[in-house]
């Protein structure tokens, strides 16, 4: 996160000089965004950090603040247009000096704003040390990148900015291995260095996967058809799911948790929760149970790095929660679930779901997840096979809890059973591991006291 902000700040600083504002690097390999709304008009005087426009990326709708104060000379984009990172969004006249760089200014209208870059970091998100991301020395200027066209294509496929890769070959030539290594590093780079897993032995790259979809038949021959373009979000979901389903060997383990006692506990405390402004739901308890189980089974809180042949175990537990928004499926992330008290977790979950449904989630709300929970309960069904949210290792599907007859000590009693389906990456874990992890979750759901005491 700190790294992303650093990059945005850099982009701002670079653009201040030329008085044009380019779409900054949005991080996470995002290369384009769709302009949703333009919030300024040509001729407007704006101050630094004033919202300029709203863009929708693959992940969220984001407000882009002005990197400088000045008069909007020209808006180069229109609502509905897709813009690339680096494309000019807005150009400014009468620019006030900013961020310590020597902006070209019209002297008589100069105002002394001069905020430090740190100000920008603070205003763009939670402040964090801006130096945690090692800045690589990029290739010289606009020189052609010393790599073959095939290597450059590989970099595009892996989403690696090849100019930022230091070539290991003679004369600084960038090799395929350099690009693959950079792709592997990217997964770990934003994390704190101290948290990065210590690799004992260097791995070897696994084989790449890629299947070309065959051409579709001409459906018109059987009747009229209509072609509807996919929305940005739909396209992203399609690409992500295809990637995951093609790349990852999925296994699903089914089980059921007896949540009769947990349900009673929730009902008993509903009013107490409401008094604190929180509506208790099963989901927050499931999240808590998963976070604790992940502590016992860290392999499920990881990502496989096929390029390096290593497993990247994350020493933080950020859980994604699948939310069905009007636009499509969105997975906001709750950070450090293992360390948060249940009430706080519940409050955060509610606020996050609201932000997502209103389209106000920020990029930060949507990234950094280590494991995903998808609750299918509201819409019924007895179970589903979820697809892993790549590059995570596993996803837990929760279906609707139902009262069912259960045999207990020779008698049939009604119990509330919650069907669970744990889908995991068979490259990383085997059936027995999956069963053990599911049991660790179930044990906590069946014994809420253990869950709440963190036993």
């Amino acid at each position: 996160m700190a790294a992303d902000l650093t990059r945005i700040v850099t982009a701002y600083n670079d653009t201040v000089m030329s008085r044009t504002f380019l779409l900054p690097d949005l991080g996470e390999g995002l290369t384009e965004a769709e302009v949703v709304k333009i919030l300024v008009r040509e001729g407007d005087l704006v101050h630094e950090d004033a919202p300029l426009l709203e863009v929708e990326t693959d992940k969220a709708t984001v407000e882009i603040p002005s990197p400088m104060g000045g008069r909007v000379e020209k808006v180069h984009v229109q609502a509905g247009q897709t813009v690339q990172v680096g494309e000019v969004l807005v150009s400014f006249a009468d620019v006030a000096a900013s961020s310590g760089t020597q902006a070209a200014v019209t002297p008589d209208t100069t105002r002394a704003l001069a905020p430090e870059p740190e100000t920008l970091v603070a205003s763009s998100g939670p402040a964090s040390p801006a130096s945690s991301h090692p800045t690589r020395s990029p290739q010289r200027g606009a020189d052609p990148v010393p790599a073959t066209p095939a290597t450059r294509r590989l970099a595009r496929e892996l989403g690696v900015e090849i100019r930022a890769v230091n070539g290991s070959g003679r004369g600084g030539r960038v090799t395929d291995d350099d690009v693959r290594a950079a792709a592997g590093r990217r997964e770990t780079a934003p994390a704190d260095e101290a948290r990065a897993p210590a690799s004992t032995a260097p791995g070897k790259p696994l084989a790449r996967v890629g299947i070309e979809p065959p051409p579709l038949p001409r459906f018109e021959q059987w009747g009229p058809v209509e072609r509807q373009p996919l929305s940005h979000l739909r396209r992203t979901i399609a690409e992500r799911m295809t990637l995951s389903a093609t790349l990852v060997p999925h296994v699903t383990h089914f089980d059921r948790a007896d949540v009769t006692d947990l349900d009673a506990l929730i009902r008993r405390n509903l009013d107490a929760g409401k008094a604190r402004g929180v509506t208790l739901t099963l989901t927050s308890f499931v999240l808590k149970a998963v976070a604790q189980a992940l502590g016992e089974h860290p392999h499920f809180n990881a990502s496989l790095d096929p390029a390096a042949g290593e497993l990247i175990v994350k020493r933080y537990v950020h859980l994604g929660v699948a939310v069905a928004a009007e636009r499509g499926l969105i997975v906001p992330v709750i950070r450090d679930v293992d360390r948060k008290p249940l009430l706080e977790l519940q409050r955060e979950l509610g606020a996050l779901a609201t932000r997502v449904r209103e389209g106000k989630a920020t990029l930060e709300d949507l990234r950094g997840g280590t494991f995903t929970v998808t609750n299918l309960g509201a819409l019924g069904g007895t179970g589903a096979l979820p697809i892993i949210n790549y590059p995570e290792v596993a996803i837990l599907g929760v279906a609707r809890g139902r009262e069912e007859p259960v045999v207990r000590e020779g008698a049939i009693v009604p119990r509330l059973l919650l069907p669970l389906s744990l889908t995991f990456d068979h490259r990383v874990a085997d059936g027995a591991d999956g069963a053990r992890f599911a049991s660790a979750v179930i044990r906590r759901l069946e014994h809420p006291d253990e869950l709440l005491l963190g036993l």
């Binding site: 690339q84 020189d143 052609p144 990148v145 010393p146 004369g171 030539r173 001409r218 373009p229």
Partner: protein, 459 residues
């Protein structure tokens, strides 16, 4: 009219190299693509009025020049007798016609339909086709590949049969006794040499102080020397101030006050993108003042559904650039991570001697202050050049001063257009001069000059 509405994945506007390359690649990737072309044919200016017919004529010129040179080693064919009808038939049928039929067959094989007519955008998702096969085409993506046309001489509004652009000159209407060529770029030089070989007395006028602006001067030298010998006159830093058709000839007034009379005038002052009247203003695509369509590195315009490739996207206006751009756009439309990130677009002037270069020129290195080492190898040192009786050549390597990476290659001499391919591979794949020097090049060939130039850099 316009009742017929057709839906396709990709509508390609223009059937030139950029257009057909894009359409073919779309088809290979499973997208339904149609090409709308005013002439209902594939090949464009390149095949019908540019690269291909001019090279056919230049081959004729080369044969004539070789026959003349043969006298040096005791072979005299006598004075050539040139019949224009068979020459035109050969160019039109055996060269252009054959290639056009080939392209049509490829299109059929790939299921790419060619629709005849002029396409005009109605909005970001549809074009109207006017003319031969009127219809509306609704597309998911459109690729503008309408290419370029010869630019008119600024300020000259003379309408005269005697005034030709490159398209007209390639028809070889006759061999004018006195031909004025306006423009010392590659088109003027190539066609000037064709007509000179066929027997015209050629005067070439160029407003800048050198031929082939853009090429390094040492590369142009050998060509300039030959033109001075085979042309009646080469006038640099000279403009044509006025042209007047006297009925029997064209009188040209130069800006130095001199007046001369010509039977024909070839205007070769560059090419302009053909974007007017396309209806692009009804899309979100942006067109510059000079008429070029603005695109990103994949070829996408500011309109998410409209793409552009080839001459309409800017300089250099070369068919091979357009072809690569076409493939990139098709792949990007198919969702692949393609980009036109090419380092080199080789330039070849098919004159005698040929001039070819790629990557960084020495002059660019000087202007940008890029630290380079340059090696020149005169072909006087080449065994193969001696056996061809052609020592009027030069091979030049421009390499990064620090790493020795090959950044540019320039060649002048017969066959330079073929030889430059090695330079293109070297620059595009970031080879070091050392790599070129350590690769065995067959002896005796002209390609050895590249290896030897690289060796000079290592000394």
């Amino acid at each position: 009219m316009g009742d017929l509405v057709r839906e396709v994945d990709v509508a390609v506007v223009g059937g030139g190299p950029g257009g057909y390359s894009a359409a073919f690649r779309c088809a290979e990737l499973g997208l339904e693509a149609v090409v709308v072309d005013a002439g209902k044919r594939l090949g464009g200016a390149c095949l019908f009025e540019g690269c291909i017919p001019s090279k056919a004529l230049l081959h004729v010129a080369a044969v004539l020049a070789e026959a003349e040179r043969a006298k040096d080693f005791g072979v005299d064919f006598g004075a050539p007798r040139i019949s224009l009808d068979p020459l035109r038939t050969w160019t039109r049928e055996r060269v252009v016609g054959k290639l056009a039929r080939g392209l049509a067959a490829v299109a059929r094989g790939k299921g790419v339909e060619v629709i005849g007519g002029r396409a005009v955008f109605a909005d970001s998702r549809s074009v109207r086709v006017e003319g031969e096969e009127p219809q509306t085409i609704r597309f998911r993506h459109a690729i503008v590949a309408t290419g370029s046309a010869p630019a008119a001489l600024p300020g000259a509004d003379l309408r005269s049969e005697r005034l030709m652009d490159s398209t007209a000159a390639l028809q070889v209407p006759d061999v004018p006794p006195r031909l004025l060529v306006i423009g010392g770029g590659y088109i003027g030089l190539e066609l000037g040499q064709v007509y000179a070989a066929l027997g015209s007395e050629v005067t070439l006028v160029e407003m800048l102080d050198g031929l082939l602006p853009g090429a390094d001067r040492d590369l142009v030298q050998h060509l300039a020397r030959r033109c001075e010998r085979t042309f009646k006159a080469v006038r640099l830093s000279t403009r044509v101030a006025g042209l007047r058709d006297t009925g029997r000839a064209v009188e040209a007034r130069l800006d130095d006050g001199e007046t001369a009379t010509f039977d024909r005038v070839l205007v070769a002052v560059g090419r302009r993108p053909q974007t007017a009247g396309l209806g692009l203003e009804l899309t979100r695509a942006r067109v510059t003042e000079r008429g070029f369509v603005e695109t990103d590195e994949r070829g996408r315009t500011a309109d998410a559904h409209v793409w552009a490739v080839g001459d309409v996207t800017g300089e250099p206006m070369l068919a091979h650039r357009a072809m690569r751009q076409g493939k990139v756009a098709a792949e990007a439309i198919a969702g692949r991570p393609a980009a036109f990130d090419n380092v080199v677009v080789p330039a070849v002037v098919f004159t005698d001697p040929e001039v070819a270069w790629c990557g960084l020129t020495e002059r660019e290195a000087e202007t940008t202050g890029c630290p380079v080492k340059v090696a020149r190898l005169q072909w006087a040192a080449s065994g193969r050049a001696a056996t061809l009786g052609r020592s009027d050549g030069l091979t030049k390597l421009v390499a990064d001063a620090e790493t020795g990476r090959v950044l540019g290659v320039g060649i002048v001499g017969p066959g330079a257009g073929e030889l430059i391919a090695e330079g293109a591979v070297a620059v595009e794949t970031a080879l070091l001069a050392e790599d070129v020097a350590l690769t065995i090049h067959a002896h005796p060939t002209l390609s050895e000059t590249l290896m030897e130039a690289a060796e000079i850099l290592l000394r």
